[in-house]
């Protein structure tokens, strides 16, 4: 598995992967941070409880204010992760490079596991980089809007920052498992990414909005969103984590089974 892991790291140095993998997450988190701080107001209009990028200066001055914008776009960062995992895996099928890989590493479970771990490391670096840059930007923009940043560097603030990184990262790994499964099933990067994004965004929204209101406690996209936020009004963090762990085990087992059985 070490060989599969280190060989995947070589492939991750490609300019396109660096641009989309690191740049995609960075773009979303930076934009979210800028919008959140620039649109912060002293008081919200009556009846408006605040969501998305519309929050009060007082809220942003709290310990978790630093990562407020980042957590709000965690779904988009997750979609970058889904596209990265699905693209990196399905391209091996569509380009025919999988045959070369299987000749040098015929133990298919080790090949896929090593590849997944390398991608997981890469997306971890992407999350840390994105949050680090977004945080730096937040510190630079906050004084101009009258947001006090002393709580951000308190122990509570640093704890919130660490938790945000962990939660967003775990959600990204979840999106990655989903993307890898679609890639092995469909063997086409375009189709795998399109179907994954379609499922997570409009399809789940339609299901929970029009068909099954309880779906926001059980559908994977909704649960990944809850996980990234450290729990939300639909699912507690523990519920999201445990349910997603079960999904991850089942999906990983199915993916490995399919990858091992199929002709290359």
């Amino acid at each position: 598995m070490i060989g599969a892991f280190t060989s995947e790291l070589v492939k991750l140095r490609r300019r396109g992967v660096l641009l989309w993998g690191l740049g995609g997450g960075l773009l979303f988190t930076v934009l979210a941070t800028v919008f959140t701080i620039e649109r912060a107001v002293n008081t919200l209009a009556p009846g408006f409880h605040g969501h998305g990028f519309r929050v009060t200066i007082a809220e942003l001055s709290r310990p978790d204010g630093l990562v407020h914008g980042v957590v709000d776009v965690s779904n988009l960062v997750g979609i970058v992760a889904l596209a990265l995992f699905a693209g990196a895996t399905a391209t091996e099928f569509s380009h025919g490079t999988l045959r070369n890989l299987l000749i040098r590493q015929p133990r298919r479970a080790q090949l896929l596991s090593g590849k997944f771990l390398a991608l997981a490391l890469f997306i971890g670096l992407a999350v840390v980089l994105a949050i680090a840059v977004a945080s730096g930007l937040a510190f630079a923009l906050a004084p101009g809007k009258g947001i006090t940043t002393s709580a951000w560097t308190s122990s509570s603030g640093l704890n919130d920052l660490g938790q945000a990184i962990l939660h967003v990262y775990l959600a990204c790994v979840g999106y990655g498992i989903f993307g890898t499964a679609l890639a092995v099933l469909l063997r086409s990067p375009g189709v795998a990414i399109a179907l994954g994004v379609a499922w997570v965004l409009p399809i789940e929204a339609i299901i929970t909005g029009a068909i099954w209101s309880g779906g926001n406690r059980w559908l994977p996209g909704e649960l990944l969103s809850a996980l990234a936020h450290g729990g939300n009004s639909s699912s507690s963090y523990a519920h999201a984590l445990v349910t997603l762990a079960v999904y991850a085990v089942l999906l990983s087992a199915g993916t490995l089974f399919l990858f091992q059985r199929r002709d290359a």
Partner: protein, 330 residues
Amino acid sequence: MSSIEQANREDPQSAPKGSPAGDPAVLTSALSKRYGQRLAVDRIDIELPAGVVCGFVGPNGAGKTTTIQMLLGLVRPTSGTAWVLGQPTSDPASYLPRVGALVESPAFYPTLTGRRNLEVLTRLGRLNSGRVEEVLRLVELIDRADDLVRAYSLGMKQRLGVAAALLPEPELVILDEPANGLDPAGIREIRRLLRSLADRGVTVFVSSHLLAEIEAICDHVVMIHQGRIVFQGSMENLLAAQHSDLIAVPEHGHDLDRLAALAAREGKMARVDGEAVRVQAPGDWAAEFNRQAMAAGITLRGLQSTRASLEEAFFAVTEHDGAEREEDAS
């Protein structure tokens, strides 16, 4: 018994166990692969002696690539068994570290350099990283090693594919159409490379539909046609089993018919072919034919013996196979 049947019976299945070359490098038993209704490979038995350069020939769609994919554990056989370097293909990890292969068209990461592409495979197989430089030199790509693969010509990609196959210092090299896209100089280079591998004791199994190339480099041949093996054995025996021709050119054109009749009187098939008479006869009958022509007052200005080419042998064998299938069907 026809010469083809004789060649088939004498050579193929008798080879190697206990021979100086050792156990077969590849052995298959009733190996088959079915895709839906189509039987791509039909109960083939191959026995490839170790240490030979073996051509795997057949037209496009004959089942060459599918067979190679089964030997490499990439495709699961529908039925039958196969062993490579003494290990079952159901456990590819037991023999693939000793095998180098190029399957179908060479596939690489276009936005990585040639060197990085080989590094991916070297790391994956936990191979000596110094091999990358060695194989790049061997296939004469060292000057372009740091260019992106997307800038490579098809011939360069093909050479990179051969380099990738040689990375593990293999005992067996399996190459699927390695001459595709190569210019004549590149083809000659591949030929030289394959011979040098054989000289080092590496078994080479190379598929191609370029029969002249196979004839030039291989000492053993396996022929596949419509998913079935129609011949396997030494190239020499295959070609020796084919009819050879004598081509005689008389000094005067008006002697052509007399010359043909002379050969026919000796029980040889003869026909006028342009300015020459083509006689189906072994090369050592040339002297006798020359004497008889002289005695009949015919002066020859040319007399040569031609050996059947692999291409002619292939068509003879496949025609024979087709006739057998028709007989089976009726």
